[in-house]
Assembly symmetry: D2
Homo-oligomer: 336 residues x 4
């Protein structure tokens, strides 16, 4: 497979490169970056020195398409909608890692306060929830928080059991990107934890979309994100209030049935931790039923840059091309 990456200088682009260099079927044909044009890819992504010997180019989407079977767009929201139609028009498969095609157009416009110039339907690429990704030419790759949150709650939503759910999510700071900011300034982030957008984070719309697709009656979905002093990972604490009390075994059965044959979901006894998934495409899920209460606490752990972004994109690619879902991704996390 010949592959192009539009927007290769950020963390998501770097992670696509890291993973694709380990993929048995992947040939990287173009990596674009306007700001880093002409520079070696490995000058930006120094961990790729000797692994990849390419330069960033500043190419039109059509020129990227002409070299490739599939193109990943790792550009900001608002930019993707200008690039994607040209790529699709050129007959190439596309996986868009931005937010532009994840939501219904009217929800997108309301959430992002931005007019959509390319209203188009796309499958939302969490393959565990959307097996139809395999038949697509174009996938909207999900946000990092919604991946962790949706996977944590989907089995119970699908079973129609959720009365109310509060997602309290904790993300590594790499989710905020490669650009230095106040929030990512080491003295501000170390020995700290920063709650932000307590009730207004835009990723909530994706979570709502996915869970109400499974249970249209589900009304109360809350989401509050935090950044923690870690580089990678999202731990989602899902406080789920259920309609009827179920035993630990019943809940376990629901999860096991829902996720059977899903290679990247690991249902564990005990509580998932970021250390177990760092650098890998796995999503670890565990839970506990509160005695004498209607609350179940479900914990999911993912690497925000892998299962929460670039790894999931490659998982989608594998399925779109009829490859084994795990091709190039069957690697353990790096621990400790």
């Amino acid at each position: 497979m010949d592959i192009g990456i539009i927007g290769g200088s950020g963390y998501t682009g770097g992670e696509l490169l890291r993973l694709l260099t380990q993929h048995p079927e992947a040939n990287i044909k173009a990596v674009t970056s306007r700001s880093s044009k002409g520079q070696k890819v490995s000058d930006t992504h120094t961990h790729l020195r000797k692994i990849i010997d390419m330069e960033f180019e500043d190419l039109a989407p059509e020129d990227v398409a002409s070299r490739c079977d599939i193109v990943f767009t790792a550009v900001p929201h608002g930019t993707a909608m200008q690039v994607v139609p040209k790529l699709l028009g050129a007959g190439v498969k596309v996986i868009d890692l931005s937010a532009d095609y994840r939501l219904k157009t009217e929800v997108f416009e309301k959430t992002y306060k931005l007019k959509h110039t390319d209203p188009r339907t796309a499958v939302y690429g969490i393959p565990e929830l959307h097996p139809e990704v395999a038949q697509q030419e174009f996938i909207a790759n999900p946000g990092c928080y919604p991946t962790g949150a949706s996977l944590a709650a989907a089995p119970l939503a699908d079973a129609g059991l959720i009365e109310r759910v509060v997602f309290d999510s904790k993300s590594g700071i790499s989710g905020a990107g490669a650009e230095p900011t106040e929030v990512s300034h080491y003295p501000n982030m170390a020995e700290n934890i920063q709650a932000y957008k307590l009730t207004t984070h835009r990723h909530r719309a994706e979570i709502v979309q996915e869970l109400t697709r499974l249970d249209s009656g589900l009304k109360s979905i809350s989401f509050t994100p935090h950044v923690i002093p870690s580089v990678r990972g999202i731990l989602t604490t899902a406080h789920i209030f259920v309609k009827k009390q179920l035993s630990e075994e019943e809940i376990g059965d629901i999860y096991r049935n829902f996720y059977q044959d899903k290679p990247f979901i690991r249902l564990i006894k005990g509580i998932p931790m970021l250390g177990g998934v760092r650098g890998s495409n796995f999503c670890d899920i565990g839970f506990e039923v509160e005695k004498g209460s209607d609350r179940i606490v479900v914990i999911s752990a993912i690497d925000n840059l892998v299962k929460g972004a670039s790894g999931q994109a490659i998982q989608n690619m594998n399925l779109m091309f009829g490859l084994d879902e795990t091709a190039g991704l069957w690697t353990p996390g790096v621990a400790p």
Copy 2:
């Protein structure tokens, strides 16, 4: 004031020492430790070198009492109940930092699965919620999580507005003590966040006690703790579902009225962070009202070793002795 500390070698004891050396009225007369008997206090607490020149002693409670006006007991739960009656019997004031006297006896016994050998009523020492500490000879100093959680929700509980509250708390690892463990092992804690006792942490009983005291009708109180890669601090994210929707201004008024004249509560616009309270006795509180929802997110930030333990103990001491509540404690946090 002549002061004794029983159990001075742990983090809580060390913090009492650090703060008391800065207190204008405090004379430290005895610091006990069985395991470190005969060693210099500053060999264990190396930051106190040149500041304090004492040795740990292994003394009977009565001997400590004979030197002191007030004794702090910083010993494990189960041990305090053996020490406290002897101290009180010797006529000295006591502030117990263990869990032994925080709960009603029957709740304690059920929660800690331990027979109480000294069932006795004590005032629960959050001075902002219990001004009657000033008239006491004996105070049960609260747990760290309950301090952060109760202060975050108390004004709304007092107003009878809470339908349901989920406390999702994030603590620095110093809360787990000075003894190395799996959890506190650096490679396990760094770049991680560990949820634990998802539904069964014993501190929940204190939170329930305090909030139902303010609103006996409050039924749904959930609590899940996490440790984060920080040494100090507890950030509490309180997801509060209210009985009727209120404006940001109305909520603000409730908090301002409830905490007026409370020197250590800082109500802030924006979101509190651990960096602002590290090393200090302040509790910073901020909140956001979710639009079109019954949820309010309240965030509180404290230093678990100060307002969550030793600082609050000294605040109680000040009030018990008729001193200014802020004596020796009116110091800013250390930031960055």
Copy 3:
């Protein structure tokens, strides 16, 4: 004492404020900041909320001087030389925390590649090495690295024993300031250590100046700095090659004699650590003699923002005003 701070919005300014609010004789009369003019000081330094209720002003040096007995200048190098003469001309005492007056003019101009517009002699304010600070109207407050390095090696330099010294220094990232940069970006700094300016850091000139003042024959002084994933602190590893082998006891005597009656120097058995000095003005020093070798390894630990900057400035102020050297500074570090 009425005190002004010119340049109060950075880390050094914030630390002056934190410490001065705890000083028994200090009245802060003016805090300037061009960029934050009109804003509350505690909006920038949120840990100072309720502790200090002032606004940043944009004042001419003369106007600051008219309100004060002493002014601290916490501005970038090159700026201080424009401010200091006006302050001194207005008859106020001055402590400059920039690099402008630390070096002989010709050394300064060569090191900083900048023409000095106010060539003037100033005493270099490490009080342990320059007791004459007590008689000054104007002090050049030392750099953070030179403080840790000079204090580690001074006794052996003074004894004429050093053949060669290599300072390998490790600093917390707060030394790089409050402005977010590539280096201070959390994902770049966490789980990392960054060596920089391997042979060209400008602070070396201060170290050379101080050590050759003690031993004019000392020729080989090397210095390489690193930033570590810590906010505060400088650990200096001084690899000292001596002219003749001495026993541990002899070396110990040299240090004890040299630093007797210096309150902020703590000579310790064992190896100093940053945790013991965080937030305090102490400099902890320990050493080990390599058997059968001419090498002694001396380790010093300071808080770069306190003894390495603002604390030392206040120590100088105390001496200039005939106060006890430790006034307002006799506080332990915050540990853990």
Copy 4:
């Protein structure tokens, strides 16, 4: 290749497993652990869940040998010398990751204060310095610090240019193992850097052995280790004093010639960082020549668990079996 690991429950064992599961020719046939016998390997190494489905066994060395072509011994020093002769006697290839066979017997006994029960010659397995590993049945895999230090200085030692070298090394705390200790206790390690064994670390003997092998006249080799608040990685700062001054270009040529065709050495302009090598087998090397001085500062960066231990062991295995040196190891680090 059928592979056994003796001592698979620690960090080195876990890293062998992580890397070998990605190796195209490796079949893991046995993993032993006395303490974890009967437990799933992935219960200890949770990042390997679903990747490896084996149990720890408690097997005699001969039984391991009977299943394998090669055995890695990842046991403490003193234990390896009891295991290795049995394995070699059973006709299997062996790579020992302990210290038992790295040094000449008399040096070992003096350094480790332990009688050697199996004095035997082994090749020291830094393949870049010992291409003869390819012809061996038995390899002593080097220590982590000596790998970083030797690779940093070897080209200049080989050229006979070094007068004196001071290695100031900074290691991630994973080098201290999986067992919680005072040093690895999060509150002790966070926001800190701990120098230790300032002049007496046993790894120095390996460095001396390797460098004097290249230059028998090299007399002055100093080494001081530190642990930093990072999990993985060793940054070595080599302060090298040379016999004659050379230009940056001349030094560069020496390094390039020495390391040509060595796939895992990356000579870089600029300064290596741990982030670039985390999780990978690369050793990044950069340097700077001090103007007007006899000092060159060389910086090397490795992952202590990969190039400093398990990755280098697999690199040795590849060479011993005539495979491509990079088989299973040509993976980039994980960054950010």
